[in-house]
Symmetry: C2
Subunit: 211 residues, 2 copies
DNA sequence: GTTACAGTGTGACCGTTGGTCATTATTTGA
DNA sequence: TCAAATAATGACCAACGGTCACACTGTAAC
């Protein structure tokens, strides 16, 4: 059934066209300025067609975020997970933040899809997919940090509590990269990233010190 | 001219009514679900009247954010600024984060008004007002941290670089309080806040340590 | 070859939204 | 008493996200 297969391929290709069009538009306008009509025009399809693929405009963003998460997780897993814990964590965070720096499009998607208000509006299935993806990141980092505890690098305490600060710093860094540091050069952004990563590791290593 | 005065008073009172109505609605719906019509109804005025006070819907949010900033700065300046630097910083951050925890309304306003995409859409005057308010917070913290450097509590390095990590952690904390920790109890949130504050101080104090 | 059917693309159309503006009501000043 | 000024108002507008009846194509049954 060659024709049947071609149909399916075309359908999937059209879905990619929609996603790429949306992503491209997000380079110049923020999410709420990008309209379905614009996406349709850029993807060279009718407006109604978009709704054969996505239930709402926001589900497009959700898909972009999920795809983006997959890409990032794959890149993270490709790193050498046998290197020393601190080096590995540094490499992981540099990688994750590099994705953010790479383009405002990614930043806008991730920023938007992280908000609770956004997730609540999603369908239950989409919601679960997003939560599962978050969990994948959590376990990936969790495993490594646990190893760090075993090796005596980090103080022995509940992982969640140990990582709260670093987690917050990471989230805040992604915000600041495109707010306070939006006009900075790539070198300045890189210095910022390295400084904050060092800060996060120091904060965890000396978490049990009294002040 | 008692009537003239009363007119002005009424006009200002109406402005407060608008702001209060908007704020109240933000407890239950996120910013984009709240409509001008809803605000007008709740404030018991006509829709057109709102535009006598604010140029756009977003300028309402900007004003809420500015007022909120004023309130927070005033509370911060009321603290004892002669106590030890670390204690003072702890108190300041606890205070700031308490405002965030206090209600989703405040969180939603601050979260929304921080985004660069939002600020760019504002009028130049409103933009400057927001930037100035940010600067006030920066100098308030900057002065104290400088004192900390003089006293040898923090390593001697450019203030911006020294505080990048803490700044990021703070921003991230405000995010997490209403995302990851949205369903947590007040006690859990308080533990989270105290943990992150400790993390931030440790990160700054030991910022110059090699790992 | 004809008919029924399922899958897909499409743009006219709909309800809702943020924002405008002509009209109305009220106060001021001469 | 009347003209000018100020402010409140809701009908109105353009633009948006989303819907749907219809058109087109290929498949299956007879």
């Amino acid at each position: 059934m060659g024709i049947q297969e071609r149909r399916e391929r075309d359908f999937l290709r059209r879905e990619r066209d929609i996603l790429d069009a949306a992503l491209g538009l997000l380079d110049h306008d923020d999410w709420q300025s990008v309209t379905i009509a614009q996406i349709a025009t850029k993807a060279e399809i009718g407006k109604g067609t978009i709704y054969k693929h996505f239930a709402t405009k926001e589900e497009i963003y959700a898909r972009l975020s999920l795809d983006f998460g997959d890409e990032m997780l794959a890149a993270m897993r490709r790193l050498d997970h046998n290197q020393p814990v601190l080096d590995l964590l540094r490499a992981l965070m540099r990688l994750a933040l590099k994705y953010h720096v790479r383009g405002m499009r990614y930043h806008r998607v991730l920023m938007f899809c992280r908000a609770l208000d956004f997730r609540r509006r999603l369908s239950p299935e989409a919601q679960k997919a997003m939560d599962d993806k978050d969990m994948e990141f959590d376990t990936l980092f969790g495993t490594i940090i646990e190893k760090g505890i075993e090796e005596g690098i980090f103080p022995r305490m509940p992982i969640e509590k140990l990582t709260w600060g670093a987690h917050a710093a990471f989230e805040g860094t992604t915000l600041m990269l495109w707010n306070e540091l939006a006009g900075a050069t790539d070198e300045q952004k890189q210095e910022f990233i390295d400084t904050v990563i060092h800060f996060m590791l120091v904060g965890m290593v000396y978490q049990d010190r009294k002040l």
